[in-house]
Amino acid sequence: MTFPSSTTAETGADAVDTVAAAAGSSAAAIVGRSPGQLMWRRFRRDRTGMISAAVVIAFLLIALLAPVISWAYGKDPSTTYGLNEPGLLNEYGYPILPNGGISGDFWFGLEPGLGRDVLTQLVYGIRTSITIALIVTVLSTVIGVTLGITSGYVGGKIDYAIGRVIDTLLAFPSQLFLIVLVPVVDAALVLPDQESPTWLRFVSICIVLTVLGWATTARLLRAQVLSLREREFIEAARVTGASPARVIFKELMPNLWTPIIIQATLALPLYVGAEAGLGFLGVGMPQTTPDWGRMFQVGSTVYHSDVTYLLFPGVSMLIFVIAFNLLGDSIRDAFDPKTKR
């Protein structure tokens, strides 16, 4: 049984520290490196991390260059080609050509019913998913961190209050509440007269996902802060009369960046999945905005007669989320070598 005893780590760790020490002998030029540089060196050497980073960047580029791709490809996501040009969809809304209507000018085929182009829908769909996921991740991390740190560091009544709020939020059946909250927030933000713009639903989805998302981050941060608070260097800082703000930002924060970043990179794919889940349940972005979730919803109703349509969003979402998960793992390993096994 292979059994990595702790000494390897200890000596390994010593070795690394010694590497950091400026022993001026004639051996390979050993130069001191900051933790950030160390992290980058380790990350660069982790090939899986690099590949997943490349895939993620590719998706980001596709999302950014969506208009260019659609211009070059000649189709756009909103025109209903199937309805406008006869001969593409049969009488019941299904693409006539086999395999979901894949053809020369519709590389990924046509959407049953409205007959929109699947490729551009996918490309613009990434845009929706990533923007929502990024915004929600940033928002929930910021809220989670601030509340987590305040409740962890300050303790007492505030900690109790925030703790109860977190418990209540985490006790909500989250999937159910996503569906309930979106129409409620919609109704709250409704603009009486003109057409409710797409950004309205975009905002309400972000609000809903953030409201239900920050609690887990807050709880994690609170635990980290509680353990750090007992450490001597915090006592020392306090003893020297440092203001709480200085203690938090100068002493605590540097130690918290690792869990924060790890939590964020692992949360992002979850939010992409959640946003698509909303679309699948019919409370996602409106029909005019290309969205993967709705492609799944349509896919799951028509897969009897047109399974290809379901595969495109499915496979692209799969690759997208795997890349993110692997990237999150690699970042965690680079940041926190102890758990690298």
Binding site: D46, R47, T48, I51, S52, V55, T80, L83, N84, L89, N90, E91, Y92, G93, Y94, P95, I96, L97, P98, N99, G100, G101, G109, P112, G113, L114, P183, D186, A187, P192, D193, Q194, E195, S196, G282, P286, Q287, R294, Q297, V298, T301, V302, H304, S305, D306, V307, T308, Y309, L311, G314, V315, L318, I319, I322, A323, L326, D329, S330, K340, R341
Partner: protein
């Protein structure tokens, strides 16, 4: 140590390529060449050929035997929802009415003969009732031998009680016609004038001279009152067995079957009612011994089970569930399934109300109708078989007196005629108007909205689409001063004469919050024509009058007719006598027998 993940990236790539290849070889995700639907015989959604009022002779039982039918066996029914109400006074949904036909009888009812024409005949009554003063007083005499499931006779007292209990405070979901006509003052709400029989008071406008005769004194002449009492809402309820709210789950039977068990949301089981006398019933048969009804199946599921046609599904039919729209094409290509399919025109018409208080210029309204993309909407919702024929009038072909007319040439140009619409707009006060189109935010309606926006913008009409939460749709369009110009609506006549098809929707004097006149049409000429048509006693003459009113409304362009909804459903191969009921627009259970 961390090299183990090096192979993950390659593994993912392989999987992705594999999945795509897999899709390629799947049996072709496309719809395949147009299924040659054109070569299929045109769907026989023929309108009901004729609706007449039957004689006393037509009202005598037993109902003519169904060819080849034999008694015995259990018929299964699979459907989406449990019946929300079974207490006749609370039944308004056609789905509830279909099952009530098995155990609730009314004074009069409809009988369909082989040629497809419908006759109003006496059910519990010996005939369709007699009126001597143009429809203000009506006399019905009960048949001999009509009994409740416990063998006790159905008396005129029971009929009087059945109407009186409709005033109780827990009966709110049913029709209100008879109640508003049986109170002395027609202008004041009927609930203020009589509160129901539970505190011992009686309604004196209903006389019961003896056990067999009932006389109704209405506060105004209603020549089609005999059609009104055919509604399930006015079915008979035994005075001795009235369990008030609980009656809604397990009513007392006067029909061929009685309810044995009702597990809400799950199942309903019926067995033969020994005390039902075939000779007194001109409409119903009772071939199967038992009926077992199961709920919770969406149309996709029931379609799959009918196509599979295995095990107990062989003896299954469904009242409400149509063939799922996305499976229509598959069913049409399956000759075996088509043998066990039912098609027909339902009384339901769908249309788009044009809010005449906001879109005041008739030419703009006409332009909207002309540019409307009816064909695309039909295609989006599964074609004529699944959703309906393109409509051009207010009244549905299932209504007595319907006359086909196409003022805006929609059948000629179903895709919408932007040029003609532009010409109409040129003559109107606003050449390119902006209209606020409110829609119910369901997946289908979202697609429909896109098609409408495209078509109308081609005609120069700027559309502002306002999605409304599907739960709050009616609350939003209900108020008279709502801020929307065009919104979807659906209607079915409560009985197949013009009055309930037109009056509640277009009578200018009935405009009010949450009232059915959503297009807020208030044209004096139409209002007087409606009153006048209501007094015509001869059904065919009345039909012509209502058809004329229909044309006037279309000239006002108060609505954009959408579909005369059709029904396309399947049933198991082990059942015979499953027929389509044109009055309710669903599958009827009254002639079913188990092969």
């Amino acid at each position: 140590m961390r090299s183990h993940r090096r192979r993950i990236a390659t593994a993912t790539a392989v999987l992705a390529v594999g999945a795509l290849a897999l899709a390629g070889c799947a049996k072709g995700g496309g719809g395949g060449a147009p299924s040659g639907a054109a070569s299929k015989p045109p769907l026989e959604n023929k309108a009901v050929s004729a609706i007449t009022v039957g004689t006393a002779a037509d009202s005598t039982g037993p109902a003519p035997e169904v060819a080849g039918a034999k008694p015995g066996g259990t018929a299964n029914m699979i459907d989406r929802d449990d019946f929300s109400h079974l207490d006749p006074g609370r039944v308004y949904l056609n789905y509830n009415a279909m099952v009530s036909a098995l155990f609730t009888r009314q004074l009069t009812n409809y009988k369909e003969d082989a040629s497809g024409s419908i006759k109003l005949v006496g059910d519990l009554a010996t005939d369709t009732g007699t009126t001597t003063d143009g429809g203000k007083t009506w006399k019905f005499t009960l048949k001999d031998g009509v009994k409740w499931q416990d063998g006790s006779a159905i008396t005129s007292g029971d009929i009087k009680y059945s109407f009186e209990r409709l005033f109780a405070d827990f009966i709110t979901e049913g029709p209100i016609y008879a109640q508003s006509w049986l109170v002395p003052d027609a202008s004041k709400p009927y609930r203020d004038q009589y509160k129901g029989p539970y505190d011992g008071k009686e309604l004196d406008t209903i006389e019961t001279p003896d056990d067999k005769t009932v006389v109704f004194h209405l506060n105004a002449p209603h020549p089609d009152f005999n059609f009104t009492v055919a509604m399930t809402g006015y079915g008979a309820v035994p005075k001795a067995k009235d369990t008030k709210q609980k009656y809604d789950k397990q009513p007392f039977s006067s029909g061929p079957y009685q309810i044995v068990s009702h597990v809400t949301g799950k199942s309903l089981d019926l067995e033969r009612n020994p005390n039902w006398d075939k000779t007194t019933d001109p409409i119903r048969h009772a071939y199967p011994d038992k009926f077992h009804m199961e709920f919770g199946l969406q149309s996709q599921q029931s379609t799959e089970r009918f196509l599979a046609d295995t095990g107990s599904d062989k003896q299954a039919f469904t009242f409400h569930n149509p063939v799922a729209p996305e499976r229509v094409q598959e069913v049409l290509n399956n000759p075996e399934a088509m043998k066990r399919s039912l098609q027909g025109l339902t009384p339901f018409t769908t249309f788009y109300n044009i809010n005449t208080k906001r879109v005041t210029d008739v030419n703009v309204r006409k332009a909207i109708i002309t540019a409307w993309p009816s064909k695309q909407l039909q295609q989006l919702q599964g074609g004529e078989t699944a959703i309906g024929k393109i409509a051009t009038t207010v009244m549905s072909p299932t209504v007595l007196g319907y006359e086909a007319s196409d003022l805006y040439g929609k059948l000629a140009k179903p895709d919408g005629d932007p040029e003609a619409a532009k010409k109409l707009l040129a003559q109107s006060s606003t050449p390119n108007p902006t209209i606020v189109y409110a829609y119910n935010q369901t997946p289908v309606q979202e697609k429909v909205t896109i098609a409408i926006k495209d078509a109308l913008s081609k005609a120069g009409i700027n559309v502002v689409a306002k999605p409304l939460n599907s739960a709050t749709f009616y609350d939003a369009i209900g108020p008279v001063d709502n801020e929307y110009d065009v919104y979807w609506g659906g209607w079915a006549a409560d009985w197949p004469t013009g009055s309930t098809a037109i009056q509640p929707l277009f009578d200018g004097r009935l405009i009010g919050d949450n009232q059915s006149n959503y297009s807020h049409l208030n044209v004096p000429e139409i209002n007087t024509a409606i009153d006048q048509a209501n007094t015509i006693t001869d059904p065919t003459e009345a039909g012509k009058a209502w058809a004329a009113i229909d044309r006037k409304i279309m000239e006002q362009a108060a609505i954009v007719p959408e579909f005369y909804q059709t029904y396309f459903g399947l049933y198991g191969s082990g059942l015979g006598g499953v027929r389509f009921d044109p009055i309710q627009g669903e599958q009827s259970a009254l002639d079913i027998w188990v092969k």
